[in-house]
């Protein structure tokens, strides 16, 4: 349709051409319109509301629409007084970033090799689809069930401990297997590697196989092919996967709560406990802070790789 409208015809008056141009433009707007509307209604408007509410006051049972920095000042309470120790919010973010970094590097490492295997070693398309669907298995159960399911495996009297004791490696059950940072990272990696696999696989599958042949013909070793051809061409997938994993882990409070025995701080948990106490403005202020931190990380990532250009 756009072609017929735009196609220049001889002998058309300038006013008519102008009209056609506006028609073309309005059609473009119409095409983008529904998405824009959804985006504005369900993303921009709530976000603006959260930011507005974060600067409100509150009492035990309601938000008071009066300007107040209370949500923010309470959050950074004691940050100067506690020096050189860290205050609650800094400690919490440090812990969240640590978990995020660990999860990100592990999911990247594992996800990359899974995607590599799927893209270059599995020949049939059907098997590629079947195997990537297998990666979704961790999502088949609810969080509570998953948590309960880890107990018989990692618990004090669980399989791993019994196995280690039986094999004579340890005398006493190891406690750090469950309700620890170890179990949190394990559960997060178990869940979110999938989000790395899919975009990286998607990038890899588009790599022209002739490039790899060319590298081989030019005498490159396997490692050189990997670092000079495969990894650079998988970058968009790596960045997109990283954005998925980092944004999810930064905001997570369910998995960290459940696997950490509710004793490990996370940025999401602060928001949750504020919400539970009906302190919506304080929760909103914390959400804005979390959003800011996450945007900083993501923009740093996209600075390294321009995803739009690479796609």
């Amino acid at each position: 349709m756009a072609v017929t409208i735009d196609s220049p015809q001889d002998g058309v008056a300038p006013t008519e051409r102008k009209l056609r141009k506006t028609a073309a433009r309005s059609i473009a707007w119409l095409q983008a319109g529904p998405m824009m509307l959804v985006f504005a209604l369900f993303f921009l408007a709530p976000l603006v509301l959260v930011i507005v509410v974060s600067a409100w006051d509150y009492n035990e049972y309601e938000m008071i629409p009066a300007f107040s920095w209370r949500g923010y000042t309470d959050t950074f309470e004691g940050c100067i007084a506690a020096l050189p120790d860290l205050c609650t919010i800094l400690k919490t973010y440090l812990k969240t970033l640590k978990l995020c970094l660990l999860t990100w590097s592990l999911t990247l490492l594992i996800g990359f090799w899974v995607a590599y295997f799927l893209a270059f070693h599995v020949r049939s398309k059907t098997w590629q689809i079947v195997l990537s669907l297998l990666c979704t298995i961790p999502f088949w159960t609810s969080n509570v069930i998953r948590m309960i399911a880890w107990i018989p495996l990692l618990g004090r009297n669980g399989l791993v401990n019994q196995g280690l004791i039986g094999a004579g490696f340890i005398d006493q059950p190891v406690e750090w297997l469950l309700f620890s940072e170890f179990s949190v990272v394990l559960a997060l990696v178990h869940l979110f590697t999938f989000f790395m696999v899919v975009p990286i696989f998607n990038s890899m599958i588009r790599i022209d196989k002739r490039l790899i042949e060319a590298a081989y013909d030019a005498g490159a070793s396997g490692w050189q092919t990997l670092t000079n051809v495969v990894i650079p061409l998988s970058k968009p997938g790596i960045v997109i996967g990283s954005i998925f994993v980092i944004t999810i882990v930064m905001g997570d409070f369910v998995t960290i709560g459940v696997m950490g025995g509710q004793q490990i701080a996370s940025a999401g948990k602060i928001i949750e406990s504020r919400l539970s106490a009906l302190q919506f403005p304080a929760a909103a202020a914390n959400a804005v802070i979390l959003l800011g931190v996450t945007i900083l990380i993501i923009s740093a990532l996209t600075r390294i790789v321009d995803v739009r250009k690479e796609l």
Binding site: Y61, D74, T88, Q263, I270, S273, Q279
Partner: protein
């Protein structure tokens, strides 16, 4: 009290069967009888918002059979119930919630008090709710948000609690219990008699508390008092200095690795205890029963400092006032207190607000076991028929009078709640 027991689930199959039944019924009524099926068209439906504690399928089925009122459960955690009342008062009709949340709900103006005169059994409601004493006259502990402090309002549209009885009732009492520590006697192997044991380093890495700040801090306060460090004027309404002191005790215990995990869900508490991850933790009566029904020794240990109690009841949404739903709500509440539901709750280890009607719906043996602390003459079964206790068993903590009489404090929302939540986040980050 969060997901106190199993959540109600409707299987696709039963839904389909129900739909098919309804369809064939409608078809049948259309062809065989020319008269319309009036009962179905006039179905009285009440949307019932609450935690899973009282939301048994059997209760709604029995209610439909007895009164024709169809109960639609909306199940949420305690915090989410409160949130929903504040933010979406039109999304429910009947509210089942705990007394401690009234400090937030009443000022919001979103709930409508019921009229005591329209509740048939109101005068038979246990004096635990109305006067803070046992039926035998013994006074019980009133620290925290004790129900009798927030039971009455000044008027129908009032937002202030009345210290003296009025006819405007914030929540019509239904169910309550006395909570204490659950222990694994087979793993602890010695008598436990004080709250102080919760933070005893002997149980390092094997203790747990409830992951609700306002309740967790009260458990900690019980420990602080038990160890003789400090005596609170009101554990349920601490000053900032008292909050600091209590959180310091909790933080030290956490740093020393005392806690295995905090639990928020009924099944989590059962699993922690059954798997031996924890050997001592704050718990609920039916959770202890569930661990025991798995064949694992577990005791709901009475402690010398007393119990931390909770209570819940019914009110309606402001949106219901004036409409026909208000009459149905009265009918439903009156049915609820008429005995069948009370007996059902008693058989789970909770207590019914009207004891006389519940007693009439229980066998003498059941009443003796659950309420009088007598050894069971025959096997004790749950409402669904599963075996809970063999004949000869005695309930932990003994009789109603022994348990409710030893209540030290009630679940509460403090005046300094905002400060407390901040301190709780600090404690988690420590």
């Amino acid at each position: 009290m969060t997901d106190r027991s199993k959540t109600t689930t409707i299987s696709r199959r039963s839904l389909l069967k129900g739909a098919a039944g309804a369809a064939s019924l409608a078809a049948g009524s259309g062809t065989l009888l020319s008269a319309p099926y009036v009962h179905a068209a006039d179905a009285k439906v009440l949307r019932y918002l609450g935690t899973a504690v009282n939301e048994g399928d059997e209760i709604s089925k029995k209610c439909l059979a007895d009164t024709g009122i169809k109960i639609e459960y909306i199940t949420a955690t305690t915090d989410d119930v409160t949130k929903r009342v504040i933010t979406q008062p039109n999304s429910f009709d009947v509210l089942d919630t705990e007394y401690f949340s009234l400090k937030k709900l009443v000022p919001s103006g979103n709930i409508f008090p019921l009229d005591a005169k329209k509740i048939k059994e109101f005068d038979n409601i246990t004096p635990v709710f109305t006067k803070g004493e046992l039926p035998n006259g013994k006074k019980i502990g009133g620290q925290g948000t004790a129900p009798w402090k927030v039971l009455y309002l000044d008027g129908a549209n009032s937002k202030t609690f009345s210290a003296t009885p009025t006819e405007y009732i914030t929540l019509i009492p239904t169910v309550y219990n006395a909570d204490t520590l659950g222990i694994r006697p087979d793993l602890i192997k010695r008598p436990i008699s004080s709250w102080a044991e919760l933070l005893n380093p002997e149980f390092k890495g094997k203790a747990s508390i409830l992951n609700i700040p306002s309740i967790g801090i009260m458990d900690a306060a019980m420990v602080v008092e038990a160890t003789g460090q400090y005596k609170y004027a009101d554990k349920g309404n601490m000053t900032k200095a008292e909050i600091d002191l209590t959180m310091k005790t909790l933080t030290e215990a956490k740093k020393a690795g005392q806690f295995r995990a905090f639990w928020k869900d009924f099944n989590e508490s059962v699993n922690l205890m059954a798997s031996g991850e924890t050997v001592i933790q704050s718990m609920w009566s039916p959770a202890v029963t569930k661990v025991r029904s798995m064949g694992i020794a577990c005791t709901f240990q009475p402690l010398k400092e007393g119990y931390r109690s909770w209570a819940s009841g019914f009110c309606v949404s402001k949106a219901v006032a004036g409409g026909p739903k208000l009459d149905w709500a009265y009918e439903f509440v009156n049915w609820y207190l008429s005995g069948w539901a009370g007996a059902y709750l008693n058989r789970q280890g909770y207590y019914s607000a009207v004891l006389s009607t519940a007693k009439a719906n229980m066998t003498a043996d059941e009443w003796g076991y659950w309420m009088e602390g007598k050894p069971a003459a025959s096997d004790i079964k749950a409402p669904d028929g599963t075996l809970l206790e063999k004949a000869g068993a005695v309930r932990d903590g003994g009789s109603y009078d022994d348990r409710m009489g030893a209540v030290a404090c009630w679940n509460a929302v403090m005046d300094e709640n905002d400060y407390m939540v901040r301190k709780w986040n600090e404690f988690i980050a420590a």
